[in-house]
């Protein structure tokens, strides 16, 4: 037997083993990615199914008589320009009585089924329609928002079941709802309130506008602070600073900061920004400052890597033409590194958008019913709002929590896609 035959046989045997190993490793990869996708799918399915109920709600349509008795006026007189909430409430009570008769008197149905918000809405509507010149005695068909007990009852089809369950409704109240439902007076609407209102005690008027604005202000402050600071730190460290023990220490410190748990930054913010500098509590300004501290290392590290990745030839070329070092950096190196820097910054900002812990420490975890119009007003942020609502016993709030998660995911996906698009477009033009 020739040597070459032996060696070929050995190679063949080994080749089979190698091919088996290769198939095995590919399988591992496929299993891993399938599992990952499955988890992702489960996550989205669970969030979406929980969030969907938050995007619609029900109203009960009632015929409202502008009874002269309520306004202490006479039939045919114009409606007064100013209406009290109390008058609106009694109009609604009359409307319910008109629809349901004796059942209404016994069960105090307005308070049990209709949202407190509805009275305010009615008052505003009638005052706004003053020009229409409604007269006392007119009848109007108007929709009223159900409160969370009524809403839950409708959603769970309790109106059709005989069991009395714990929606906080009495048997009579449940029957009343059932009658209204059968008469086709209950209609479903898109929940615009969720996007136009801030947090509220009652689920039907709770929205994410305040949290969105709070997050917007905080991110704006964080970006304005962290981007220039991080960028110039990176430029100095990478392009100008001498390589010595001090800069090495600074470098290590920055890498370590990137790994510090965010709650620590929250504590720092509490101790320095609030207790020492006496900045306003719960304000997006302070939230933004804390988030800036948190994202700073991410931006510095990403920017340094982007700067380091710029081909050295460009620097020599600039210097050899007689450009100063600052000119070389700002005319050539920085533009080439910009896509990487922006990508790092956007990813840092996306992290900041999802950050809850440091905001808890500086008091952005509060019930705030008003949307912040400046970064100095008390506010909460999107992830904190999710946290607050998720904890709420009312299921309507936890579905709003899931809806808020969806909104936040949309923002995160948009931000990350922006990072990808930026990088692509720079790569093409560079």
């Amino acid at each position: 037997m020739k040597y070459s035959d032996i060696s070929n046989r050995r190679v063949d045997q080994r080749l089979k083993r190698r091919q088996r190993a290769e198939r095995r490793y590919r399988l591992y990869g496929q299993v891993a990615i399938t599992l990952a996708l499955l988890f992702l799918l489960m996550f989205f399915a669970s969030i979406i199914t929980r969030a969907v109920p938050a995007f619609y709600y029900h109203r009960v349509n009632l015929t409202l008589e502008l009874s002269p008795k309520v306004f202490a006026g006479r039939q045919g007189e114009p409606l007064p320009r100013k209406i009290t909430e109390r008058q609106a409430k009694s109009l609604m009570e009359d409307a319910i009585a008109l629809e349901l008769g004796a059942l209404a008197q016994r069960e105090r149905l307005r308070r049990a089924l209709i949202a407190p918000l509805a009275a305010l809405e009615l008052k505003q509507l009638l005052e706004k329609e003053a020009e229409v010149r409604h007269r006392l005695g007119d009848r109007l068909l108007l929709p009223f928002v159900l409160n969370s007990a009524g809403e839950n009852c409708i959603r769970n089809a309790c109106a059709n079941s005989a069991e009395v369950d714990d929606f906080g409704l009495s048997e009579g109240q449940r029957q009343a709802l059932s009658i209204l439902h059968k008469r086709g007076l209950i209609t479903r609407h898109f929940n615009l309130v969720f996007f136009t209102h801030s947090d509220s005690r009652s689920s039907e008027s709770a929205g994410i506008l305040g949290a969105l604005l709070g997050s917007f202000w905080a991110l704006l402050i964080a970006f304005l602070l962290a981007f220039p600071l991080g960028l110039f730190t990176a430029i100095h460290l990478q392009e100008f600073a001498p390589r010595n023990r001090l800069t090495y220490l600074i470098e290590v410190a920055i890498y370590n900061l990137a790994a510090v748990p965010s709650i620590v930054f929250g504590l720092l913010g509490l101790a320095i920004f609030l207790n020492w500098w006496h900045l306003p509590r719960s304000a997006p300004l302070v939230g933004g400052m804390v988030l800036a501290l948190m994202t700073l290392p991410t931006i510095v590290v990403a920017s340094r890597n982007a700067l380091a990745a710029v081909a050295g030839g460009i620097r020599s070329a600039g210097l050899a033409l007689g450009a100063s070092r600052v000119q070389v950096v700002f005319h050539h190196v920085l533009p080439s590194a910009m896509p990487g820097i922006l990508t790092g910054t956007i990813i840092g900002m996306a992290q900041a958008l999802g950050e809850t812990a440091p905001l808890l420490m500086i008091g952005m975890v509060a019930f705030i019913a008003q949307a912040p119009l400046s970064p100095l007003e008390p506010a909460t942020a999107l992830p904190v709002q999710i946290f607050i609502w998720a904890d709420h016993p009312d299921p309507a709030f936890s579905s709003r929590s899931a809806a808020a998660i969806l909104v936040m995911l949309v923002f995160l996906i948009v931000m990350n896609s922006l990072a990808v698009i930026l990088r692509r477009s720079f790569e093409r033009s560079g």
Partner: protein, 260 residues
Amino acid sequence: MKTQQNKKEQIAPKVVARGVNVYYGEKQALFQVKLEVPHRRVTSLIGPSGCGKSTFLRCINRMNDVIAGCRVEGSITIDGLDVSSLDAVALRARIGMVFQKPNPFPKSIYENVAYGVRIHGLADTKDEMDAIVRRSLARAGLAREVSERLNDPAYSLSGGQQQRLCIARAIALQPELILMDEPCSSLDPIATARIENLIAELSRNYTILIVTHSMQQAARVSHRTVFFHLGRVIESGETTQVFTNPKRKQTERYITGRIG
């Protein structure tokens, strides 16, 4: 030819180096380098890798300044002025440099040539700038290929074209001296031939100092040749003399391929 050369020899040399020592940290890279580069001639520096040719080249326009731990001793003068007494930025504006790998800026062809002119404020109007850019591209033998697409990115050019663009960029500043650090090492033979022709043409107006690994190239393009070995100048002289009748044993061994 011979008489013309003799006449030029009498003009004071462009660059004079005396006792140049260069250290990278503890390591000494150049030892007592003594060298003269004649005016408007091509001088090539040859020698095995790591012998200090490029290091010497970078001493002339002080590109070694930006390397941490690099120290230069001795004197290098250009037209009698010591380079260490000049401002590095002003010095480099007077000396063009072309690198081993083509390194155009990631900008348009036009911007690449205009950049140096712009930062030194050498053109007052757009027309003046256009004229400088077109003239430089023409001198670098690139005008015909790129005149229709001056706003295209420089990276859209081929390697050889990029290298000629880098030469155009350097001569846009009307330098007194052009340093070339193995300008053809990443190019194919055709692109190399074009650059060599260009060097011959440029030597009518510019003093050129070229580092090369290829002895044929040194023989083809240069009037004078300097042989470096282990950080020392072993021999320097007229190219024909160095290649046909080297005075030193080491030079002979190198050019016949026995060391390096």
